[in-house]
Amino acid sequence: MNATLPRFFWSEYRKRRKKSSLITFALFWGTLSILLLMAFGQGMTTQFRISFSGLGETLLMITGGQTSLGYQGLPKGRQIRLYPEDIDYLRERIPEILRILPESDTNLQVSAEGKEINRNVHGTTEEFAALRTQIPQPGGRFLDADDVVRGRKVAFLGWKAATDLFGAGPPVGKTIVINRIPFTVVGVLQQKLQDSMYNGPDADQVYLPTTSFATLDNRRYIGRIHIQPREASQSLMIEDRVRALLGRKYRFDPADRYALGVWNTIEDAKEGLAIFKGIEIFLGIIGALTLLIGAVGVTNLMYAVGKERTKEIGIKLAIGARRRVILQQFVLETAFIFAKGTFWGVVTAFNLVNLIRLIPVGFDSNGIEAYLLRPIFSAQIFVAYTAILGVLVFLSGIFPALRASRSNPIESLRYE
């Protein structure tokens, strides 16, 4: 290319930029809309994953129930309870289990520094932290194996329970009293999103070692058994094995769906994720269609601009412009308009996403804002979008350019 031509193209573009401003704006708006659409879609899916993991990942929760079928001469309506020894019984017989632990809870009065609150107090083991995403705030810890073995009088508090008892002050090291027994607070739960729960959000709970909990609650049976499979795909098989093994032990029909309560969060998560993935795909399809409509619009505008410039092209051809000069000018203008519109669209989308993410979302809120106000600006989506749009805009620009460069100078000169 003649070195002076790009400068000439630039000077011509600057003179005509008002005419191309509509195309630039269309590209800007299209880019902004699609990137925001995808950012919200991805944000919602990610938020769902995070809030679901607030309960715990790959988890099976087993509770006792009431039989609904007669079995081996025994009547229906029998109460089935779970006992601490069931933990080892299941662990030994189902090698696919990675973690298994008991949890019991009861509503008790908890007091500290003159304040009294009623809260669910739980007894569990140290493995509960990993299984149920109990991450302590800095300066504290969850219950450990020693606490369980030695029956230490220690407690781990949900962050709201801690605030209710101690206000803004640091609770770690302080004492809470439950049933006139003092417990030392060893840690407070870090704030987290949680969309699935039993007996309320973890923020409100009080956790003690099983051994200490037994001093407050004299029931021999346990509230529930948590199981984490080695592989998420094994959850249904483990569920069947648990029903079969406990059915044999407590003599109920393994097919009796009411003898045990089983909450398979893995299957729930699959459903939830499928819904959000569906929404993401739906938004992606809307994005793709918008992109297509946008590309048709840009093609139309480029065509109209090319048509409008027919006479100008005729003049240039008449005074000696070669075809490639006309082609180069159109292609470079298209590339520049694309780059300008897309650049501002990307910059605006990026800043809007970051601005929206600054809006605080309470961790105790599981409302729509927790999902909507955390869009994610994904580099992969940006690259894919720019590449697809670039190809579409290039194609929409190259055809009017080819048409312009191949036009008959006489016909172009006559065009009004």
């Binding site: 002076t4 011509e12 100008e312 005729g314 003049i315 008449a318 070669r322 000169l413």
Partner: protein
């Protein structure tokens, strides 16, 4: 300089065909100033377009400055238009968004001339047509006569040996028309070959020779 032999130009519109030129043969010698005259539809503009390499004949031979034009590619014809021919149109055909300076500079840009050469030549040409002070103005800010003088300066940008003028005074008042004719005559006297299409007998009378067309053939 310009030699046409049996030039025919047939336009096809669906099943219809129109023979605009029916075997035109003529010669224009170097340094000659000729006028092409004829009634509307006689083929004057078509002949001018063929001579100006803006259109290709359906058949016949066209030799320009010793080179056969028939069969040249689009870009080779563009190069011929750029270097050997200068065009002046009835409706000026200036780029509306470009200044007088930029319009005059354009053919030199397409020829790849350096910035310095372009600058010197634009100044020289704008001075020659008496419009240097108007160099920053756009065509819409100039009178018809001024626009045609800018168009003339543009036609001379690459110093072509041949100037083609299609009704150059057709859209101008008599005074401006006279000014354009004076410039054309001056350019002819300086040695340039000029082919002009006109309806005006008075204007045509100032050329050396008149070629008359009727129904696509040269009648005198």
């Amino acid at each position: 300089m310009i030699e046409l032999q049996g030039i025919r130009k047939v336009y096809r519109m669906g099943s219809q065909s129109l023979e605009a030129l029916r075997g035109v043969s003529m010669r224009v010698e170097r340094g000659e100033f000729i006028s092409i005259m004829g009634p509307s539809g006689s083929g004057k503009s078509t002949l001018m377009n063929v001579i100006g390499c803006l259109d290709t004949p359906t058949s016949g031979e066209y030799v320009l400055d010793g080179d056969r034009v028939a069969g040249l590619s689009f870009d080779k014809l563009a190069a011929v238009r750029n270097r050997k021919l200068g065009f002046v149109f009835q409706n000026f055909n200036l780029l509306p968004y470009a200044t007088a300076w930029e319009n005059v500079e354009l053919p030199m840009l397409f020829d790849g001339k350096t910035a310095r050469k372009r600058r010197d030549r634009v100044i020289e040409l704008l001075n020659a047509v008496g419009l240097y002070e108007w160099h920053g103005h756009r065509p819409s800010e100039l009178s018809g006569g001024q626009q045609q003088r800018i168009a003339l300066a543009r036609a001379l940008a690459n110093d072509p040996p041949i100037l083609l003028a299609d009704e150059p005074t057709g859209n101008l008042d008599s005074k401006s028309g006279e000014e354009i004719m004076d410039i054309l005559l001056r350019l002819w006297k300086e040695g340039r070959t000029i082919v002009m299409v006109t309806h005006n007998d008075h204007i045509a009378a100032r050329s050396q020779r008149i070629v008359r067309l009727f129904d696509g053939i040269v009648v005198s």
